[in-house]
Symmetry: C2
Subunit: 514 residues, 2 copies
């Protein structure tokens, strides 16, 4: 890989692009040469880009409502209100007199209906706890657009300015407070749920609004993936380990493939050959496009490395990395490395076998919410290490990311703001002495787990870690294929949530509202 001059800064910006409307965190790597224009278009359609309803997933009953929110909760600029969408189900709710719980899922970066469909755990809990369920949508995603439309909201830095986590938390706080007031249910306990960025929101909301919610289940929430709180190589090391644990050969084949792709791309007709081998609909403009396409797939495979077939990011078999590695490893002797890689990655991009050819640059949105968030608050440094990663080596380079953000969004990131606002190096200590009732659940196969909380902080701030879990698996609907450890994990979560509620009810009956 001597000639790998590729800079993979911007990493956290660019590849986020692909999946930002998919709830799940996008991986943070990009291998193309620096070319902001290409960069933005590069990862347009690595997975389904528009949610069109659950495919084969259970469907849940809810009512769709809208709530007028202030665009700016923390200043009194004369901005128009916007309509925040929320989904609500009160079918099982025991009501205010019985202090019926309210389960609130903190909507994250995408269409809220998509989250609702993929967060079966919350729906399944509702009848058991006689809880109301509410899924508020995150501002600037789905239908919850300031200034009336996506086009207006995403027009420029001024209109995008208020797409921040703090404003989103305030939306949730104002909405639930008003909703409870209207239902005369102020005494009803609110329990927060969230996965990925939504899990971060749930944990942060419990910290910032302890008077509003009694506890939070923060699944796969990398609240420590900021500044230097965890090593920058963590994410890609975990992805790489997920492959190595299935097969060292597979890991090595992938690690070797980048140079092959690079040198093939430099041959005359090399790009045509790569285009054909990987069945792209349009001819590749550089081999980096292919490298990015592949590296994204590996990362998403690691996130969605569930023990049963799923249709979350893309339709995938159970244990998809095992399947990918089988394809890579088990080709007949003499099969080229590129052919092996193609066969392997098809598990991700074409499991159903229906794709005729692949697109790289389908960019339905132009600008994209998570890119903006990454260019402002959500600065998550990542790198790929020479020794432990199967990805090309690169160093984290904040300066070039900043440059990209200024060029493309006319905004300067504030890389230390999230840690100032929500806690950085002292975060766990602060939690220990201050916080309570948070579950940080993580599966160690999930590359985001390395940026989360993996040990108990106190008696009431606990880490539930599953060795074989992937990205917020616990929040998914239960299936007949759930392994025992998953069933147990969810049972523990139920028990902990019941404990929070019991404590709340106990306090309510002992003393009047202080």
């Amino acid at each position: 890989m001597a000639n790998f001059h590729i800079r993979a800064s911007l990493s956290f910006l660019i590849s986020l692009y692909a999946l930002s409307s998919f709830c799940i965190f996008p991986p943070a790597l990009s291998f193309h040469r620096r070319n902001p224009k290409n960069a933005l278009r590069l990862l347009g359609k690595f997975s389904r880009s528009n949610y069109t309803g659950p495919i084969g997933a259970p469907s849940y009953q809810f009512e769709t409502r809208y709530f007028d929110q202030n665009i700016d909760h923390f200043a009194f600029s004369n901005l128009p209100k916007f309509r925040q969408r929320y989904l609500i189900n009160t079918e099982y709710w025991s009501g205010p007199d019985r202090l019926g719980p309210i389960f609130l899922y903190c909507g994250n970066e995408g269409d809220i209906e998509w989250f609702a469909a993929n967060t079966g755990f919350v729906w399944e809990l509702a009848p058991r706890f006689r809880a109301m369920v509410i899924f508020p949508e995150h501002r600037y995603y789905g239908e919850s657009m300031p200034y009336g439309s996506y086009e207006e909201a995403y027009k420029n830095a001024t209109t995008l300015a208020h797409l921040t986590a703090e404003q989103a938390l305030a939306d949730f706080a104002v909405l639930i407070t008003e909703l409870k007031r209207n239902l005369s249910s102020q005494a009803c306990p609110v329990v927060l749920f969230g996965g990925s960025y939504g899990g971060m929101l749930a944990a942060w909301m419990r910290l910032k609004y302890p008077h509003i919610a009694i506890g939070a289940l923060a699944s796969s929430a990398p609240v420590l993936q900021f500044e230097d709180l965890v090593p920058t190589e963590t994410f890609y090391d975990i992805v790489s380990n997920d492959f190595r644990r299935e097969s060292v050969d597979c890991f090595n084949t992938i690690k070797d493939s980048w140079d092959v792709i690079e040198s093939e791309g430099q041959k005359s007709n090399g790009l045509s050959y790569l285009t054909e081998t990987f069945r792209f609909c349009k001819k590749l403009e550089s081999s980096d496009e292919l490298s990015n396409w592949l590296s994204s797939a590996y990362s998403y495979l690691a996130m969605g490395n569930y023990p049963y077939p799923s249709d979350f990011l893309m339709p995938m078999p159970g244990n998809p990395i095992k399947e990918v590695c089988k394809k890579i490893d088990n080709r007949p002797n003499g099969t080229s490395i590129l052919q092996r890689i193609f066969e392997g990655v098809s598990i991700y991009y074409n499991y159903t076998g229906t794709a005729g050819c692949f697109d790289l640059d389908d960019d339905p949105h132009g600008m994209n919410g998570w890119n903006w968030q990454s260019c402002t608050e959500m600065v998550m440094p990542m790198s790929s290490s020479k020794n432990t990663s199967m990805f090309p080596t690169y160093e984290y380079d904040y300066a070039s990311d900043e440059e990209w953000c200024l060029e493309n969004y006319n905004v300067k990131p504030r890389p230390t703001w999230i840690t100032t606002q929500f806690g950085g190096h002292g975060f766990k200590n602060a939690l220990k002495t201050f916080g309570s009732n948070i579950i940080f659940s993580n599966g160690l196969l999930d590359p985001w787990s390395g940026g989360s909380v993996l040990e108990d902080i106190s008696e009431t701030i606990v880490a539930l870690v599953t060795e074989k879990g992937a990205h917020h698996l616990d929040l998914r609907p239960s299936t007949v294929n759930d392994p025992d450890w998953l069933v147990e994990q969810r049972a523990t979560e139920v028990k902990l949530i019941q404990g929070w509620l019991d404590e709340h009810f106990d306090r309510k009956t002992r003393v009047a509202d202080m």
Copy 2:
């Protein structure tokens, strides 16, 4: 008082006007007829309107520095930065290696030098704790003006938009984080101090930024003076009781005086007579002007009802209400009620005896920061009850306040925002299960004490209540005249702060930073 058609809504807006650059909360009453134009000018100079350095107070050594802050921490609008002033003293600081504490006073609504001069307690603690002392100024006050100048910052609702408590807390958080980083003193514990609105900021900051500060002394902080958390008549009932406890006659004379003033004002030449009797420099335009002037004085007397002479709001004798009532009660038989009132109130407005005549409408600033805050977040409902108050009866009327704010500032208040953001009805319960290390200190003579926390919430969230204390007396410099109960109160505070620090040091030595 049958004919008292006066509406005293706007109360919380208008009289705040007088003292908003004086750190101390302004009282929340105004008896003039609704006339926004008059309203704004009415209470211009009821006490010193510009701080020109301590008079006879101890002077403290500090360096003045400036820090570039974002105008909007919670959005990424392309606004210019502004220079936040802060005062700093590191003379006694034991430094990062010894985990030297950092004592941070949360600057409130006024010039930070004024607070520094009147918060001797913090300065006196510095050598004992080997602490650094820092007094950051609140944005939009003193020299810390966004957009470069007072005139620009206070131009309109757009420029004033970011004058909010949340932004001020974020200023403190960003400043102290950056300062600690620069001094390699990230492990040094920060203890917060604040009085009045600054006390609210200190308590809220401990709640919202527990990773930044290990504890807070919130003196005279009416964190519950919102919505319907405490009865609206609380404030004026306490002022009234302060007078009644000195003398029922005095209380009754004041209670009777409003009708006398009103009917005198309706006579031909009545206003001239009132102007002359009360020695105003310019002729009164209505008797309401006089009523407002008097009611403000009574409220400020209650706040500054210290056991020794002070020069905080105005030069005043010790136990000033006792002195006022002596003047009111001890005139020779036949002295008119108006003459009694004038003699009494002169204790407040003219204790030094140097005032030739009094001004009503000196308005050096035009618009005023606390008025803005009252028209946006700081909506503190107040009323005056027929039976228990010595002030004219009136009901709280939110609608007319809102109207006034729209007319005068082009802004609509958000009366439920502070409780949503920082806690309302569930505030104490949330504190109990979530917070720690906050002292709510209050003196029961202080009319703001009724809106604060007066009982222990938990082992580490404690209320220190003194029967004879007034508005954040504990934060003032110690004097030879301090009564025993005050000495004891401060000793308890020192002990509690020492406990927070010991716990912090203990944790630091037991485990590395988690």
